[in-house]
């Protein structure tokens, strides 16, 4: 019965979304306040209904109600409780429910926090959000309904996919979706602005916090996914340029560009039209990525035909939203007035270059992802576009971007002083290069090009520090004055410095791992010892073990440095009994920022086992940098929140206006 109530709640949510998608928008046209007021209460109602439906589905998973087809297919009574919760979105139907839940959550947040928005804009934004909700609710109800029942109910479920039985599933999809779907707010703001036919700096100010929030979540989501794949897949790779990864990376690239262009628009009223276009494109890429993956188009053209109703539905949603928004843009954009002028060498100019490079990088990834599909459809020729292509093209595009990032914050708005910025940065560049050389020497060689890579990463980190250093005037003014200036800097200054430094840390990690990692593939018998990364690994032997829903063979390794045991680890080959599916559970040991990664292979005939050991120097920098970037986003966001809620909090206006904002 409860399942049917959940199903019904979802249908009610669709009805609410339908009302929401028409009434407030009409109200905005007629300046009818009563109609516009429907937006706030309706969005909250829609969110409550979807949340209820989602809760019911979660309940069905937690109590293992196998009369529900979705639970039967993706759960098992013996699955640990945490995976019963996270298993809700570990399948197609449930993940679409999570998507819808987050979409309506964002609508509700705009409804609650958007009290200071002009009422017509707010009504339009919430209506556009509701259009998207209608499409997704319909998609779920018509093609991917998780509330379908089985009669008679099976006694046992078919188990959650073993790979997904991991804390990664509990964290990664919600974060990723918060990012993906968060960009829907930017999309709705852009479409609403186009409908109203006007847009100004205030618009950018309202959009920026949502962009920042979505970007922060997406950054964390991608990093989490990368780390999950790293430890779960068992071959130590952390980025594969897989179409599915690209689908999440493209919105991130576009979103990063949007973050920066919205900044220009907010401060200088320039790049208006471009910002609106980017807002539309970013969410379009989110939509396209999710749906291409969901429909199976990307992995194989034929998977599309396997479920025609889903595939066609998906195409329709894509055409309506992307096509509709872009047509609206084409009609309305020329009417938007131009913004402030700026010289090529200026903060705006630097941000334009940032946008150019990020957009081209995004376009390159898009081309590489879709090209094989299009070529096969048109000519029938099959080609592959894989990591070597992306590493080359993407790497070449990123190199100049990394070099100019530290210059950006040092240039003034409107007209900057490149020579001045250069004079401030050449010491930083020298330091970075020297440090890179020392590092290179300590790691004993590698390709000479890696010195440049390391120097680039360090340049970003030190450049970010230098930005704060110069803003506070350290060394130029008395210590206590400098300290006061430093603490008085706006949060967003710290936010951008942290994010830029985070990028540098990630670059350092990537370069260090790519250049200095070592790999050892050997056969080991119990009692054997081998060296990796300055440590010696002693293989103590294999042992069978049993988990709640799996059995495993695990090997124990003792790690010694200079003869002293410093750590030990288990590396296992696991068999999940319900699905008879094997997985590897790599043994990973962390030393500082570096890791030893031990993975088991096949047993050999003479009683040994193939062992693969990687020494991954500074690998944690890759994800640590991403976390730092996200933290920068949060710090900036805390600044924004104060200002966005400003009309309601006049009493709190205490921040001294020192140093240039941003």
């Amino acid at each position: 019965m409860i399942i049917e109530i959940g199903h019904y709640a979802l249908v009610l949510a669709l009805a609410t979304a339908l009302i929401l998608s028409i009434v407030p928008a009409l109200g905005a046209r007629r300046h009818d306040r009563a109609m516009m007021d429907v937006a706030t209460i309706g969005s909250l109602a829609m969110f409550s209904l979807v949340a209820f439906a989602f809760g019911v589905l979660t309940y069905a998973h937690v109590v293992s109600d196998f009369s529900v087809e979705n639970v039967w297919e993706n759960s098992h009574s013996l699955v640990p409780l945490i995976y019963k919760y996270s298993g809700v979105w570990g399948n197609h139907e449930g993940s679409m429910m999570l998507w819808l839940l987050i979409l309506t959550l964002f609508s509700a947040l705009v409804a609650v926090f958007g009290r200071n928005l002009p009422e017509t804009l707010k009504a339009n934004v919430l209506s556009v959000q509701a259009w998207i909700s209608v499409a997704f609710t319909l998609f779920i109800l018509l093609t991917s309904n998780p509330f379908l029942r089985l009669d008679p109910a099976p006694a046992e479920g078919r188990d959650l996919n073993p790979v997904l039985q991991d804390v990664g599933l509990a964290i990664h999809p919600p974060l990723l979706y918060l990012g993906y779907v968060g960009f829907s707010v930017c999309f709705s703001f852009a479409v609403a602005a186009l409908i109203e036919g006007r847009i100004d700096a205030a618009w950018a100010r309202w959009v920026r916090p949502w962009t920042l929030a979505a970007w922060t979540f997406l950054t964390l989501g991608i990093a989490m996914g990368s780390y999950w794949a790293y430890y779960e897949l068992g071959w130590g790779g952390w980025w594969f340029w897989d179409p599915v990864e690209n689908a999440s990376f493209m919105p991130w690239l576009a979103g990063t560009a949007l973050l920066h262009s919205a900044l220009v628009m907010e401060k200088r009223e320039a790049l208006k039209i471009w910002t609106v276009l980017l807002a539309i494109l970013t969410f379009s890429l989110s939509l396209m990525g999710t749906f291409l993956v969901r429909s199976g188009v990307l992995t194989s053209v034929h998977a599309f035909a396997s479920d025609p109703s889903r595939g066609v539905f998906i195409l329709c949603i894509l055409l309506i939203f992307i096509g509709g928004a872009l047509s609206l843009f084409a009609f309305r954009a020329p009417k938007l007035s131009a913004g402030g002028l700026f010289a090529p060498i200026s903060r705006e100019g630097a941000l334009v270059v940032n946008n150019l490079i990020l957009t081209v990088a995004c376009g390159t990834v898009l081309t590489g992802t879709l090209y094989p599909l299009l070529l096969e459809t048109i000519t029938g020729d099959k080609i592959s576009v894989g990591p070597p292509f992306f590493n080359l093209t993407f790497g070449l595009l990123m190199a100049p971007l990394i070099v100019i990032v530290p210059f950006g914050p040092l240039l003034a708005w409107k007209r900057g002083d490149l020579l001045g910025a250069y004079q401030r940065l050449y010491v930083v560049a020298g330091l970075a290069f020297t440090a890179a050389l020392i590092f290179f020497y300590l790691e004993q060689g590698g390709p000479v090009l890696s010195v440049l890579g390391l120097a680039a990463g360090l340049f970003l980190v030190l450049g970010a520090a230098a930005d704060l250093w110069y803003r506070a005037g350290i060394g130029k003014v008395a210590g206590n004055v400098a300290w006061r200036r430093f603490t008085g800097l706006p949060r967003s200054a710290f936010g951008s410095a942290l994010a830029h430094a985070g990028l540098g840390v990630t670059v350092l990690g990537i370069v260090a791992v790519t250049t200095f990692q070592t790999e050892h593939v050997i056969e080991m018998k119990p009692g054997a010892t081998t060296d990796a990364g300055g440590y010696s690994l002693h293989f103590d032997g294999m042992q069978p073990a049993t988990g709640p829903n799996y059995t495993e063979e695990r090997g124990h390794f003792t790690v010694r440095r200079a003869g002293v045991a410093v750590a030990d680890t288990w590396s296992a080959k696991r068999l999940y009994t319900a699905r008879q599916m094997p997985t590897t559970e790599a043994g990973i040991l962390t030393f500082g920022l570096s890791q030893l990664y031990v993975s088991l292979g096949d047993a050999t005939k003479d009683g040994g086992i193939v062992v693969r050991i990687w020494w991954k120097p500074f690998i944690l920098c890759i994800w640590g940098g991403a976390v730092l970037m996200a933290f920068g986003g949060l710090v900036s966001l805390s600044d924004r929140r104060l200002r966005v809620g400003a009309p309601r909090r006049k009493a709190k206006q205490t921040r001294p206006a020192l140093g240039p904002a941003e």
Binding site: W89, N161, V163, L164, L169, P173, L176, Y177, I199, A201, A202, W228, G234, W235, F240, D242, V244, E245, A247, S248, E269, G289, T299, S337, G340, L341, V352, T359, V360, G363, T364, T367, Y371, L375, T379, D381, K382, I383, S384, V385, G386, P387, P388, F389, T393, L396, L397, V521, E523, K573, M581, S599, G601, D602, V610, R612, R643, A646, P647, Q653
Partner: protein
């Protein structure tokens, strides 16, 4: 979720998700082995989902790895090895497609995009020069905006 799907796909396509190169495949000469590894990373495992033969432990990938090593030991250059494998398995096996008529747009995409972006920037900058700027706000809106921006 996206990633989950990828994981699921990757897992489903691997009989035993362990690793690729086995100790018995490794060439004695480290220089030759390094070349073999570099080449393997550029070749697609034809039966896998977007994996190189270096990462895959499918039987076909193993055959290809052995083939690459055989050619290298026979003294083929990297180019010759790739040519040989392409002649047997087709262009599909290359993870970095060669530049040709078919892939011109693929390789040209970054260049064309940079050019298009740069040229439109130039064009817009020229057209914009001398035009009045700023949006036209009503006096009331201007007052509201000023107050908002002061916060």
């Amino acid at each position: 979720m996206i990633r989950c799907l990828f994981l699921v796909l990757a897992m489903m396509l691997m009989a035993a998700p362990a690793f690729a190169v086995n100790p018995d495949e490794v060439l004695a000469d480290p220089a030759l082995e390094a070349r073999a590894r570099a080449l393997s990373a550029e070749l697609r495992c034809m039966v896998c989902q977007n994996q190189s033969i270096d990462d895959s432990n499918a039987d076909l990938a193993k055959d290809l790895r052995l083939l690459v090593r055989e050619r290298i030991t026979d003294g083929d250059s990297d180019e010759a090895v790739l040519n040989y494998i392409v002649s047997r398995y087709g262009e599909f096996v290359l993870l970095k497609p060669r530049f040709s008529m078919k892939t011109g747009l693929l390789w040209g995409a970054p260049v064309l995009l940079v050019l298009a972006g740069g040229l439109s920037l130039l064009f817009l900058a020229r057209r914009r020069a001398g035009k009045p700027t700023g949006s036209k706000l009503t006096a009331e809106e201007q007052a509201q905006l000023t107050e908002l921006l002061k916060k």
